[in-house]
């Protein structure tokens, strides 16, 4: 009776203990790697990008590993070794895959300088091509990016060695397991585009009541890329933003003094939505009041001005014969000569029926405002192309060439504002207090080059937006923010960053072997203890000459055996 009761209590105690321990949260990983999820978006309702976020599979080193079950494996691919055509074939054939982990070459910590060698250029080309392909395809599995470091490299090496030896990682053989535990991505309900603008009001001559003409300087600051958390776009369009801020700084000095304040209003606009047909610019212009629109002489859009090329294009949508355009071009050409730069005009008509807006100035042209885009890109890019993705790193921007370009724009603007066309005055001469500041430009390039700026993920109060706003407010008057909602042809999903846990797991076979070993150890222990304690020492001594096993068994069942210790 007493024994029964005790067993009951013991049983209950065990249950309580197990329940208590079960409720403890288990979180333990051998290594954690920062990973960046591939973009997930809908384009006109069509699902694009990576459609899953959670990952929990064994690691494999390639698509053609013998014996690997790809639908339950994460393929680790260094991007420099990716063969896009074979990958494309796999995707088009709707191949099943557990997940894809793309390894980006190690992040270089140099702050640039732009003297990229050939290997850098090659890396860039490969990345651009891969990124374009990724952005325009759909993947039914999670796709992540990670930077290659020593740990990740060693894991990949071990995985490849195992795969090559015909031991791909599975549940039965063990190996590396990659786990990203996140909830599935949710739609971003109302993606906002935030435009930032600032004014430098010109000085009206006394007794003049007419409205002053306005020149707008515009750059789109947001980016888009295969991995939103890595789309830091230094050239597209961090360079344009840095140039705009430097221009604002220079002209704010001129405009601070009534003697040098020009008879032009200057409007600085940092627009969002650049990758999405300049959606933010469109909304911004729509909100312009009539008077402003009429006073607008022209708008100069800055786009991708950071590369080391010293040839620039002035993209316009009005015919080149237009007197206004000619004037703007000749101003640029005049100044460019002295700076070892060349500017060439490129005309592209707007097709109103086509929704694609390739250049920012086209949004102005559609609103009948004269506008041009200054860029070193010759051809108009396709949708979601040249939008500052992973490949567009800080190293791609050459500061020394960029300073000359800033000088080009600043001087030609100044000549126009002060009516000095055709002369050779130098307003922003080095050594004066109006000199360009390479340090200022560099600091902004550095900040922009490490800040991902995909608009839907920024929200209204992103630090970078606040920083840009504060900066413009410092140099201009009435700096303000305008929040717009992104065109509904684009739908975005969250979860851009995650942590990848890398576990080294043992196989089930190994567990079985351990279980067998432990089990036999316990059985042997039992038998040894039983024989040495329950069987009488005397009996053992006597039976060392006789059959010991039958006696042991007998003692199990028959406690009255006189040889047994009882």
């Amino acid at each position: 009776m007493r024994g029964w009761w005790r067993q009951q209590v013991m049983g209950q105690a065990v249950v309580v203990m197990v329940v208590m321990v079960m409720s403890m949260v288990v979180a333990d990983a051998a290594a954690v790697v920062d990973v960046y999820r591939m973009i997930q978006y809908d384009l006109r309702g069509a699902p694009m990008g990576s459609r899953r976020a959670a990952l929990n599979h064994h690691a494999t080193s390639g698509f053609d590993v013998a014996g690997a079950d790809l639908s339950r494996a994460v393929v680790i691919l260094p991007v420099l070794e990716v063969n896009i055509s074979s990958l494309n074939e796999f995707v088009q054939n709707k191949g099943l895959l557990g997940g894809l982990l793309l390894l980006l070459p190690q992040r270089s910590h140099e702050s640039g300088g732009g003297e990229g060698d050939d290997s850098d250029e090659n890396v860039g080309k490969v990345l651009v091509e891969l990124e374009q392909w990724l952005v325009h395809n759909t993947f039914q599995y999670p796709v992540y990016f990670a930077y290659e470091d020593d740990y990740v490299k060693s894991v990949l090496q071990e995985v490849s060695a195992n795969d090559a030896a015909g031991r791909p990682a599975t549940a039965t053989t063990g190996g590396y397991k990659l786990v990203v535990s996140v909830s599935e991505a949710k739609k971003i309900a109302t993606p906002t585009l935030t435009n930032i603008q600032g004014w430098l009001p010109g000085l009206r001559a006394e007794g003049d009541n007419s409205m002053l003409p306005t020149i707008a300087i515009v750059a789109s600051y947001d980016t888009f890329g295969a991995a939103p958390a890595l789309a830091t776009g230094s050239d597209s369009n961090g360079s344009g933003v840095a140039m705009l801020l430097e221009l604002a700084r220079l002209f704010s000095r001129l405009y601070a003094n009534p003697n040098t304040r020009g008879p032009y209003n200057l409007l600085f606009g940092l627009t969002s939505g650049g990758p999405y047909n300049y959606n933010g610019t469109q909304n911004w212009l729509r909100n312009f009041d009539q008077r402003l629109r009429e006073s607008m002489e022209y708008a100069l859009c800055l786009n991708s001005v950071g590369s080391s090329s010293d040839h620039m294009w002035l993209h316009v949508s009005k015919p080149p014969e237009n007197a206004f355009i000619k004037q703007i071009l000749s101003e640029f050409e005049n100044v460019a000569e002295g700076l070892d730069l060349t500017v060439e005009l490129k005309h592209k008509k707007i097709n109103i029926s086509n929704s694609r807006v390739a250049w920012e100035h086209e949004q102005f042209s559609r609103q009948r405002i004269t506008a041009a885009t200054l860029s070193q890109l010759e051809e108009a890019s396709e949708l979601l192309q040249q939008t500052g993705g992973i490949a567009d790193s800080r190293r791609a921007v050459n500061e020394t060439v960029m300073m000359r370009k800033i000088k080009l724009v600043a001087e030609s603007l100044a000549r126009r504002i002060y009516g000095q066309q055709g002369t050779q005055v130098e307003v922003f001469a080095a050594g004066t207090n109006l000199a360009l500041s390479p340090a200022y430009v560099r600091s902004w390039l550095d900040l922009l080059g490490r800040t991902p700026r995909v608009a839907p993920f920024l929200g209204k109060n992103a630090p970078i937006i606040t920083a840009l706003h504060k900066e413009l407010a410092q140099y201009t008057k009435d700096a303000s923010l305008q929040h717009e909602t992104l065109d509904s042809t684009f739908v975005f999903y969250d979860n851009t960053k995650a942590q990848l846990n890398v576990y080294q797991v043992a196989s089930v076979t190994f567990d079985f072997i351990v279980a067998l070993a432990v089990g036999s150890y316990l059985i042997i222990l039992f038998v040894v203890l039983f024989i040495t304690t329950k069987v009488k020492f005397l009996a053992v001594r006597n039976l060392l000459r006789g059959p010991i096993i039958p006696l042991t068994i007998d003692c199990f069942f028959n406690h009255t055996n006189p040889f047994c210790f009882s």
């Binding site: 005790r6 576990y503 797991v505 043992a506 089930v508 432990v518 316990l522 222990l525 329950k534 009882s566």
Partner: protein
């Protein structure tokens, strides 16, 4: 990995205690209550030890081996001996033979130690996806610990309960008991002072436990003889 591995490690950690109880006459003489009492004494002793640790030990910034701190820790560790003394002599046991009493006390003591010190890390760690040998080694360590504790209890019963023991053996008994009581400090020194790897420490503990068990058995049977 996961639950299977946890089960394996748990079997290795706690199995020997159960086997010891079941395979030896302990289970026939209803020594369960003695085990429970020993476990309770262990828990109380551990609480007192923790209070002493918290009072006297400084929290070291680095994980190194600090001699004075370790000596202090070793001294506080001797509270275990006091606890065992209490469990062996002061707690009233039902009339079981001295042989069974020390085994039951040692077993309860070791089991409580295993549950308190190893169950939680085992659950958290061995159920994780990552495989390490750590928890299997801990299981082996628990085996060694069981042997140490039972040996110490055996020597304790020789010291405190047996009156007519050969005088020549008394110093040996005390030295052996001292070594056993100092075992946590010794392993701590090996691990931190000499920076031994965990597998090496465990193999040392296992071989030391076998050696000490042998010594204890010789001493115990040597003391048994005149009584027979």
């Amino acid at each position: 990995m996961t639950f299977f591995h946890f089960f394996n490690c748990a079997a290795l950690t706690f199995g020997p205690h159960a086997v010891y109880y079941k395979a030896t006459p302990l289970s026939e003489y209803d020594t369960f209550s003695t085990c429970i009492k020993a476990a309770i004494v262990y828990i109380v002793t551990t609480l007192i030890k923790f209070v002493c640790f918290a009072t006297f030990l400084q929290v070291s910034e680095h994980d190194g081996f600090d001699l004075s701190q370790e000596i202090l820790k070793g001294l506080i560790g001797f509270l275990d001996v006091a606890g065992l003394y209490y469990a062996l002599t002061q707690v009233s046991h039902r009339s079981i033979s001295q042989n069974h009493k020390f085994q039951a006390v040692g077993l309860g003591w070791a089991f409580a130690d295993a549950v308190l010190h190893r169950l939680a890390p085992l659950w958290v760690g061995a159920k994780g996806l990552e495989f390490t040998w750590e928890y299997l080694l801990q299981g082996l360590e628990s085996n060694a610990n069981l042997v140490f504790t039972v040996s110490l209890a055996a020597l304790g019963s020789l010291m405190w309960l047996r009156k007519n023991k050969p005088a020549a053996l008394v110093p040996f008994i005390y030295v052996s008991a001292g070594i056993l009581a100092a075992m946590p400090s010794i392993t701590s020194y090996l691990r931190k002072g000499l920076a031994w790897e965990f597998p090496r420490v465990v193999s040392f503990e296992l071989s030391a436990s076998l050696l000490m068990a042998f010594v204890t058995w010789r001493l115990f049977s040597a003391c048994q003889r005149p009584a027979q």
